[in-house]
Symmetry: C2
Subunit: 444 residues, 2 copies
């Protein structure tokens, strides 16, 4: 694959973490024409199909081919076939039924993409955004649901950094339950992190990513720390000349401080993994176990979910979660309903309220997200701070849970865009969600 040409043999090792492939894709985009959503359909392209699959259709973590666009369109729905994972059990009960009131008019809703001069239809936006699955709940009912690419209703999809919002929600629950003190230093809960940048940060600063870390996620920079994090988390055997830390936690111990904690939002994945570590120290459970126990087995999920793991079996809290479309919608609805499901308080109301109240807009403004003006970040959720008080969980390549409390609406969109950064789909997504919210609120 073309990534081979870009990599030295030692660099080739850094293969399993998604971040690595984000970068490779960034490079790749400059070299290759972008396939359209229809042209890049992973089923039509025949990845890993056939007995055996033809050589040029075989995807692998080892050579990096699995995460090159357009192959990633297959991989996002087949992560388990590529790497070790740990289950997030749905339990054994019957799935909770979703009621349907499908509205075909949604396809023709028009909106003006940011920076555009002509309007686009909702339906066209799905193709524009390389959508794999999309569902809209309004007043608790499914009004829209579609699948594309390799995703089906009985399959799961990688949610990338949207995973962080699950870590943030679990932490917010522990704070609400009085089991986790957000004002304590990280080193109180995780002594192993005392000498690292996290040592003198508060739990709250980690939850809101206002830690001051010498850590770059600039995928275009081969010296960015993200590479070392990826190499550490890679579950494949390390090469002989590898001298770095083994596992996500061991990497976290090496993170150096740069600046003063608490002053600015800085979106850095390692915060989510540090938070995962804190959660596990407090509860004695992995985020996978805890998520199953507290949420996934409690609200009638249809499918078990999973996390990818490192060589020590530690779930990748910052980006390794995979789940079904309708189950993510159930989770969104649970949050929209202030943590209640069928009359039972699953997530403490205070934990959801803490997410919804948002974070510091001033600290967020220092982070350089030009498209997300006026937003804030709280408990690893993105808060739009718009008139509808909408907030969202986000992952690269277009993964979204978008919750609009004013419109009583939840949208989940799973996707496999050619380009990782969500600034490449926000202009055709966020105004589309707002248009659907307006339509639903004014219906009848």
């Amino acid at each position: 694959m073309h990534t081979d040409l870009l990599l030295s043999s030692s660099r080739k090792f850094i293969i399993s973490s998604l971040f690595y492939f984000l970068a490779m894709n960034s490079f790749a985009q400059k070299k290759e024409p972008i396939f359209s959503a229809r042209k890049s359909d992973p089923v039509k392209m025949g990845w890993m199909q056939g007995f055996p699959p033809p050589k040029d259709k075989i995807l692998s973590v080892a050579d990096g081919s699995f995460f090159n666009f357009p192959a990633l369109r297959w991989s996002v729905v087949n992560m388990r076939q590529l790497m070790p994972t740990v289950n997030v059990s749905r339990g054994l009960q019957a799935p909770s039924p979703l009621s349907y009131q499908l509205d075909e008019n949604i396809d023709s809703i028009h909106f003006l993409p940011w920076g555009a001069k002509t309007e686009m239809t909702w339906e066209a936006s799905l193709w524009k955004n390389y959508t794999d699955g999309i569902i809209i709940l309004h007043k608790g009912q499914v009004v829209y649901e579609k699948y594309f690419g390799a995703l089906k209703d009985d399959r799961v999809h990688a949610v990338m950094s949207l995973s962080k919002s699950f870590a943030g929600t679990l932490a917010s629950m522990l704070v609400a339950d009085g089991l986790l003190d957000e004002n304590k230093l990280v080193s109180f809960y995780v002594p192993e992190l005392k000498a690292s940048a996290f040592g003198d940060a508060t739990v709250r600063e980690v939850m809101d990513m206002t830690t001051a870390l010498k850590y770059s996620e600039d995928y275009a920079n081969p010296k960015a720390e993200i590479w070392a994090f990826s190499a550490a988390g890679n579950p494949l055997p390390k090469p002989k000349d590898y001298k770095g830390p083994i596992g996500y936690y061991a990497y976290l111990e090496t993170v150096k401080k740069q600046g003063v904690h608490g002053q600015a939002f800085g979106y850095k994945t390692v915060n989510a993994d540090a938070l995962g570590w804190i959660i596990s120290k407090v509860t004695g459970k992995s985020v996978a176990e805890l998520l199953s126990e507290k949420i996934w087995s409690k609200i009638g999920m249809e499918q078990s979910a999973f996390y990818q793991v490192d060589a020590l079996g530690i779930p990748f809290a910052g980006g390794g979660f995979n789940a079904g479309l309708r189950d993510l919608a159930r989770f969104g609805e649970l949050i929209l309903n202030n943590g209640k499901w069928n009359g039972e308080q699953i997530i403490p109301q205070q934990a959801v309220a803490d997410i919804e109240k948002g974070g510091s807009k001033e600290k967020f403004a220092k982070s350089g997200h030009p498209l997300l003006k006026g937003w804030s970040y709280r408990d690893m959720w993105w808060i739009t701070e718009n008139a509808h008080h909408a907030f969202t969980a986000r992952g690269v390549y277009g993964q979204t849970i978008y919750i609009d409390p004013t419109a009583d609406m939840v949208i989940v969109r799973l996707a496999s865009q050619p380009v990782a950064d969500n600034s490449n789909n926000d202009p055709w997504s966020l105004p589309a969600y707002a248009a659907v919210a307006d339509y639903l609120m004014n219906k009848k």
Copy 2:
């Protein structure tokens, strides 16, 4: 781990296939004292527990540690955390309820183990056999169900070679449906196998393992072909000096003939993988997809199951299946009921009848299973040919589905014995099953 001492660095590569570890265990048994079932409890031993787990508790496919006894007692319930896998979806429907009529008297049933002079209780046999989970259905009701070790009712367990009976059942279904001609040569369906030993064998000879193959599964022999098969199927990146085939299928193409097909039963795993290939060529689906479509999504399974896969994503039909205890019992009950479930014919009656009628006792007798006198083998099931017409699916380390049509009884036992070969647990298992059958038949 001690396996390191036994292996050259190139041999160390042959790591992912279970067979490799069977051999390592055979070696290990001679060196290490055997832990009792209670002493080797995987939860108490703390494998992969802690954040992070202590170094001496970390298990890995790469160094082979995961399959050393007693660590394998953890691994058999956590295969997904160790290797890539492919889902066998249960679908999205509600699980089918099992009705319960638990009978505590079963624990005190006495039986005489083969070769013993004193009787043993059923309960004692569970510990003797390193049982992880056991369930007994009588007249369709659960009369006994217990979990030990790392297994729980919402977790799955590796079933080892018991996997073969699923391949055999699927093939028998295709024959019954007229989609697969058991009298045709393998090469008719899989042209890639024409030059191999399988080329001029019939499908039936593969289904009943009466092919004549130059292929040894003698784990104690370092030159046995099983090693090359293991190396080919290993999903980890191949070492630079590796020159063998890549993937299970590519290995099958290299199997040489030795003798005349159809004359003797010879238990060789590669037959099950050749059958998996035939099934996939006929249906266009992997055994994982087909098993989900035909059975796993049809009878209200509680949990999705999975197969481990090779680097091409091909499921290991001969030994890579993992499933829940109660779901295996549902499958056993489906077979006992001649393929019917809640009045619906899921498996053609003819396909089950073909299993039950058994194979050639003469051909079986040539195979050297001294404990299984008078048995036969058909459609990758083991037929006791006893007065109850009992038949069984079997996997190393004690995995069993035991079906006794006369007693209207299904037993599923999942286990993690120190020694792979079932001759190490049959003397404390098969007479125990017969004693329970007698008890249940004479009850009331």
